[in-house]
């Protein structure tokens, strides 16, 4: 049973436009959420996080939105840049343990 799901395996966006990556979770015990970015042959790198007591967190071009009632979070990247092309994983945390989604491959076209 997947507790964290990223239903879109891939997303293609034009440079300069907004990228929206989605993530759904089922476990109400998760109390924080993170997004990681992964390039091929590298480990995931942390992008942005949000606590369950907030509904929005912004860091430069990256904004994460959390809808607790829907058990849904999203990552917005605006404007998208070709260097943003990578696999993005959402992760949900309880205590110091993370559960990852399956990832979404983002392709930003010049």
């Amino acid at each position: 049973d997947q507790q964290v799901k990223q239903n879109s395996p891939s997303l293609s966006v034009q440079e300069g436009r907004i990228s929206i990556l989605n993530c759904d979770y089922t476990n109400s015990m998760f109390d924080y959420f993170l997004w990681y970015k992964k390039y091929p042959a590298e480990g995931p790198t942390f992008l942005i996080s949000i606590s369950s007591i907030k509904d929005k967190n912004e860091d430069g071009r990256f904004t994460v939105f959390l809808n607790k009632s829907a058990k849904h979070l999203s990552l917005h990247i605006v404007p998208s840049q070709p260097g943003d092309s990578a696999v993005y994983f959402c992760a949900a945390g309880a205590g110091n343990m993370l559960t990852f989604g399956g990832g979404t491959r983002l392709m930003v076209k010049p």
Partner: protein
């Protein structure tokens, strides 16, 4: 900038052989994690250490996998014997006391 170190970066082995991966976490990080990531999927936790103690190894296939962190610093993950289905990226991560985990570059294992 401090980083999580892992070696080797790539490992090719034949099935039934033994393999070992090494991880050196960021200095001062008490919590260390080993994950397995199969292509097209997210990382799945294999084992979590707090200092030298195992906190969670419920997803570790203990008939063939073992992990240790004897002095509470670096860690080794071993597979013996390796099977074809073990081909994956093995990721090590560490954390201090916050929620963020810092990942190493991973070891890509191919079992032939």
């Amino acid at each position: 900038e401090a980083e999580v170190a892992q070696s080797p970066r790539y490992k090719i082995t034949e099935k039934s052989q033994a393999v070992a991966f090494w991880c050196d976490p960021i200095s001062g990080h008490a919590t260390l994690y080993w994950y397995r990531q199969i292509l097209g999927q997210g990382p799945e936790l294999l084992v979590q250490f707090q200092d030298e103690s195992v906190v969670d190894d419920s997803q570790l296939p203990k008939d063939r996998f073992s992990a240790e962190r004897l002095k509470g610093v670096d860690s080794t993950l071993k597979i013996q014997p390796a099977e074809l289905g073990d081909s994956a990226m093995y990721l090590c991560a560490s954390s201090y006391r916050g929620n963020e985990q810092f990942f190493g570059p991973g070891t890509r294992l191919t079992v032939l």
